[in-house]
Symmetry: C2
Subunit: 194 residues, 2 copies
DNA sequence: CATAGGTTTGTTAGTATTCACTAACTAAAT
DNA sequence: ATTTAGTTAGTGAATACTAACAAACCTATG
């Protein structure tokens, strides 16, 4: 990964802000430039194209998520608590960085380019990779139902989480996702418990 | 509801086809006109704006879904079988009408206009309205877990279904959603069973 | 029945706006 | 002196949409 300049960081932050506030349609070079208080051409001093801005943003998220979830691996807890920790971590992050909710849980971005598409799917896989051992262990140790395959359980878990994010965004981020999100996760845990 | 002309129906079908094949970015008046084999301006003889085309498409879906799911109401079966019937119906429909997968399970469209946003949320509510009595009855009669509230169960069910649709679309609709979808629904039923 | 007149549905040829992106220049920092 | 990071002023392409016109079709009347 190349070094990221301060200006580049500022730009991807502004891009994220625009994404959050006005969606993919609002993410234009013109808007980025206005928000940065300089001209459109100046943006191109820091990125070769608009696509590169989005790609760098997604790269940030993937690295960040991998580190965050990786840090929870060593936890000495039972699978249900591990799951809770993972989602608490995720919810805290998305709560602070709403732009990634739009970036990842929206498919409008995916249509823009094949590389963006790939990177978004890669982020989903990061999440699955961290979820799998926890759910698998949970089934083996009898915490979660083993009536269905591990993959099916993960599908249900991720589906519920994504719908949370969808609703939150559709409501304009106007409630505390950490609170209602954790309630939903606890409900989910009860349902998948053995 | 106003009467829909034959040409209007043709146009919303073409719009759906474009949506399926090339996403929201491909849904342009130019593309619609080319597909219809006439000029761009001719499109405006049948609709006042592009937005109206999408709105009529969504209106069709809402009515259709309401009728389809309403027809299942009178079924004399237990809640689990009712749920299976609902999702079999949904899967068969979306399997035949992929354009609505893009329209409803994508938020790119929602950003385009407030009216479209409202209509998509209304479609979700149609689904919830038909799901609620079934899940509620299922909990009362002891088929589904009552460890969590009915709304939470519905959230989990819809979340799993939406993720199915998302994955199917992301893979370019290149497998039989009826088959894998029903497998997933059966797994879901096992998980939410009491 | 024939035809004049209006409506419907198409055409061509535009409009204004927005988009991502570029060329040429400039000032300042290194 | 050269590199960096900004400027102004544009490009061409795509967008939704419109004005003016024309042919076909329906319909009411002489």
């Amino acid at each position: 990964m190349e070094k990221i300049t301060e200006r580049q960081k500022e730009i991807i932050d502004v891009a994220g802000k625009l994404l959050t506030e006005s969606g993919i349609g609002g993410l234009t070079i013109k808007n980025i430039a206005r928000e940065m208080q300089f001209s459109e051409s100046a943006v191109y001093r820091h990125f070769q194209s608009k696509e590169e801005i989005v790609l760098l943003m997604l790269e940030y998220l993937a690295l960040n998520m991998n580190e965050r979830l990786g840090g929870l691996k060593t936890m000495e807890k039972d699978p249900p608590e591990k799951l809770l920790a993972i989602f608490e971590n995720q919810l805290r992050f998305f709560s602070k960085n709403k732009q990634y909710v739009v970036a990842v849980f929206s498919d409008g971005l995916m249509e823009q380019s094949e590389s963006i598409n790939e990177r978004i799917l890669a982020i989903m896989q990061v999440k699955m990779r961290h979820l799998f051992p926890v759910v698998f262990e949970g089934q083996k140790k009898g915490f979660f139902t083993d009536e269905v395959k591990c993959e099916e359980l993960i599908h249900i878990i991720i589906g519920a989480f994504r719908l949370q994010m969808f609703k939150w965004r559709a409501m304009g981020f106007d409630y505390d996702i950490k609170k209602s999100g954790m309630e939903s996760v606890r409900a989910l845990l009860k349902v998948i418990a053995k």
